[in-house]
Amino acid sequence: MDDSDRDPSGLTHDDLPESIVARMRRADRSQAIVDPRTDRAVLDAARAQFAARHGRAAARRARWALPLGAAAAAVLAAWLVVGPFGGVRVPSSDDVDGSGTVDVLDVFALARASARGNVDPRVDELGARIVSLAATRSPR
């Protein structure tokens, strides 16, 4: 008995009536026979289709990724500068005490450092800048 005579259930032709075996053989022959070359061709076509779809999706992602990333970076930078609670942070070398704003306390910090021997010529310059009417806006 060859493999074609063996049913998946484990029964052999010897266990079945001849009429049933004959009907089953007819039915078996009526099914389409898939040639290995056809199978290979279908597989290759499917792979090609999915490969092309992947490329298009990647291209779509690449087209949006740059402007989207730039916009996200800008929003993040604005959030960091303005601050989550509305205070304006000034990322500046003049922010000597690191408070986020430049005011007399920064001038005072420079002056205190100067008093300890590290004379800093920026004291008067920064002092003049923090009171400059042209450099500041009226709160009204």
Binding site: T101, L105, R112, A128, I130, L133
Partner: protein, 152 residues
């Protein structure tokens, strides 16, 4: 004759207009006032900065230091704008490197702002404390207020 009459009329109109302008300038009342600025702090006050805005109805003409002698240096302010007569608001700041025991505690006059005001009503003064600090540079809580001295 007609030209001479037109010229006389034109000159008369010009003089009349100049007279109106002069009358308007004389009519706009102007006076001087002194705004004494006080800062009230529970801790010794070593540094301060405030902003005074007169809402466009004042012009700062001079700045005077406060009562505490440890603030030896004149305060920072936009001297050029004051000298130009263009200071309709002013930001003033100062600090002292004196010992904490020498610094003011409680309510103290830190500066006096001499202003020229326009109009019959006193300006709507807006005073804002920008920063106040202790001798070690820490920001401290403080209250700011002002008193007004007026005179013609």
């Amino acid at each position: 004759m007609t030209c001479r009459a037109a010229l006389v009329g034109l000159l008369a109109a010009l003089f009349a207009g100049a007279g109106d302008v002069g009358a308007q300038q004389n009519a706009a009342p102007s006076s001087f006032a002194v705004v004494d600025v006080f800062i009230d702090s529970a801790e010794p006050l070593a540094a301060w900065q405030f902003e005074l805005d007169g809402g466009g109805a004042m012009q700062v003409v001079g700045i005077e230091g406060g009562d505490n002698p440890t603030f030896r240096e004149p305060p920072f302010y936009d001297r050029a704008a004051v000298d130009r007569g263009a200071a309709e608001r002013i930001i003033i700041a100062s600090y002292s490197l004196g010992e904490p025991a020498e610094l003011s505690r409680g309510r103290a006059r830190v500066a006096s702002v001499h202003v020229r005001t326009r109009g019959l009503e006193p300006p709507d003064y807006q005073l804002r404390l920008v920063a106040a600090g202790a001798a070690d540079g820490r920001p401290i809580d403080a209250r700011i207020s002002f008193g007004l001295r007026t005179g013609r």
